[in-house]
Amino acid sequence: MTEAIVRPGRKPLKRRPLGTHRPTRGGTLLTVFVWICVVYFVVPLVWLVIASTKDNTGLFTTFGLWFGQGFHLFDNLADVFSKDGGVFSQWMVNTVLYAVTSAVGATVLATACGFALAKYRFRGSSVVFWLVIGSIMVPMTALAIPTYLLFSSMNLTDTPWAIILPSLVSPFGVYLMRVYAADSVDDSLLEAARIDGSGELRTFATIGVRLLVPGMVTVLLFQLVATWNNYFLPLIMLNTPSLYPVTVGLAGWQAAASSGGGAQVLFSTVLTGSLVSIVPLIVAFLFLQRYWQSGLAAGSVKG
């Protein structure tokens, strides 16, 4: 496909220290303007937090960005975790299970493949690489429908495998790891290991992997997000509510709440459930900031 994606960049000569800050008049204007824009990104989340502290009447009768009468967060949480026999906690467990298994598996596969593509010249390597790049463009429905039919003939639908197996393939992860390995693993290091009599695979496992860790964390995080947020695949593959990830479960509750007919008492439950479902990923991103930012900067998108 693309030269843009394929061509690895030059090495950065010198990086400016982060956060060099020279206050000027233009700078003040810029700061004010950008912070006003930030409101747009934050307001929906603030609204969600506030909405989670209200009961249903409060949602309808009080202003969205301020607290209503009474603090109902804990009642709402109790509702979320007790509704439908406490299935919500099962959804959270499922989501973590699917996301972590897929992300770890995909990272291992992508790292090994990306390293080999970057560091070895072998017949077929360019075929593998172009297949990987081309596959980034295939729409998910083109795959999801036949995958569903194939899985159903193997009795794999409505099992965790139906979510995990397709999520093990991360073409973009392979691409990232190839670029990252090309840049951060020096050929002379591999040569030195060879002269010392280290086998190729041992060299990869000891020297290669250690140098690739920041890139691996990036791939891991992005695949984690992709699987955590996945909706389409579990929607078609799963029928049993106790196997749902939280996205499919919440969408079901939302549909029930919106259909009316007395189900409107669900609104506060749906909103509080949404809040609970996004907390883990946000916390993960806050704590792993250094990794996803440096990982992207160092390897993935050098022009």
Partner: protein, 302 residues
Amino acid sequence: MTSASPARRARLGSAQTRAAWILVIPFVAVFAAMFLVPLGYSAYLSTFTSQLVGGQVFSGLANYQRALGDPSFWAGLSRVAIFLVVQVPIMLVASLFFALALDSGRMCGGKVVRLLIFLPYAVPSVVATLMWGYLYGENFGLITQIFTGLGLPAPELLAPGAILGSTMNIVCWEFIGYNMIIMYAALRTIPTELYEAAAIDGAGEFRVAWSIKIPAIRQAIILTVIFSIIGSFQLFNEPNLLFNIAPNAIGSDFTPNLYAYNLAFKNQDVNYAAAIAFLLGMVIVVLSVIVQGIVNRKEKTS
């Protein structure tokens, strides 16, 4: 390794090839099973038609012919095309602006800004759509509350005429930060020598951004453009969830992907759905190649 004998080098070469394949095979095996096989199966399915009597019948390209004359397919495709020419530029210009603002180092609290703008990326599209759906809605929607509070008529953001714009807003909210991070990461790799030279020449911040920074991160920008094209054409989650709260504004054919899903899982017309999905894939590939072609030609002429 210049001193190595030819025999030793050959042995090493084969050892390396073997190692390479051992490392590549696991991915390739899963890739083949989860990607190539379903894709091939999909192509195969698309050449059949299911009939009430006689089951599946080979019909060649009939499904593709049907798709090309199907107003639902074209309606979805044109909606996505509007999305592509309106939402993608707005999103990417905003991302680029924030990336440049952060990179200029002239802002207070840049680190916090970067994090807050990126945060929506960690929110699943299901939750994002659900949240925005409530914000848009008239039940207890924040936007309606603000407008009525100001004594103004509230905009009907879930009406048929507005729903495409409302969807664009959700996608912008989700992905501006993600694209910003990609561009910002690329900006940080530009060597400072370039700026120093420009500063000596007396170039201002805007001039530096336009003449040095943006050309220097061209590849990262192209990457975000291509990913956005792919993303737009695959639009599914947002319209599928908005359907729950605005069934009159979003039909089953709102986007080609939604159409293919509804064909396959609601109408049980798997064969036709496979053909639609395949056509969609081809459109994406062709567009990505065109974008590449334009960029490469510009590169040659400049």
